[in-house]
Symmetry: C2
Subunit: 171 residues, 2 copies
Amino acid sequence: MSLDRYIREVKDFPKPGIGFKDITPLLLDPAAFKSSIELLYEKVKDKKIDKIVAIESRGFIFGSALALKMGVGFVPVRKKGKLPGKCLSYTYALEYGEDTLEIHEDALLKNESVLIIDDLLATGGTAEAVACMVEKLGAKVSLIAFIIELEFLKGKDRLKKFSVISLIKYS
Amino acid sequence: MSLDRYIREVKDFPKPGIGFKDITPLLLDPAAFKSSIELLYEKVKDKKIDKIVAIESRGFIFGSALALKMGVGFVPVRKKGKLPGKCLSYTYALEYGEDTLEIHEDALLKNESVLIIDDLLATGGTAEAVACMVEKLGAKVSLIAFIIELEFLKGKDRLKKFSVISLIKYS
């Protein structure tokens, strides 16, 4: 199944000049959504993975389904102030300003192998921050997975320390 | 499997006097997370359901897995400004202040039967707002599902027009 026809481009969102890749048509189609999870599963099933770390909030949609299919634990990374337990907080630079993400300190064990997942790879700044958080907790980044990759933003260069996969690429 | 032992109470979060029910230990345990989706599935499988409408962002975690298991489409309800397409916006009162949620106008068809899902039923204000949004789009609320219900907050009374289920109840 060719998944790219389930991605809708919305012009000028969230600001003028940006063509936003909207995954909601894919989610709306049960066969396409199922296929996206199966394709991810095929790409990761032979890797050693103990936990899936999913980035709020679209990463949750794919991460939870993949964690269940793989039979591994699901760990949410959230915006500051949302997770109730003791957290590792990590602030990183955005194009304009900065953002802070949090992960529960007890969510990962030392030397566990982690798959990080989000819906879209743009410049890679958020995924890089999450990879850094995973490593600060003593775990290892086995793989970083995305549904969509905007190749022209060269996020993979920024993540070159890691194995990166994606299902749909825009060059 | 008794799921309540996978819920951690975090005292004084997000503010003093509140005992927050933390679902992350359940998500961290593959068997417990799988069991939660199977228990939801058993409760809903005989209902007519065309789409699952999930509330950002913890509702996404359970909604996506359940939508895949049921073979129905997944529709996210998000905070204002996050969804790129043409949206129905709905502002509703909170205990202090108000909040605005959005859903894509083309996500539901007239007369479709919808399951609304979120992780926790407290006073029911958010679920009531989402049910109203579903009906404004011409669809029907078949069921509202939660993992956790705080019975002492009487959210079910507020949602008495609807069928409501939950897996773990605190009285």
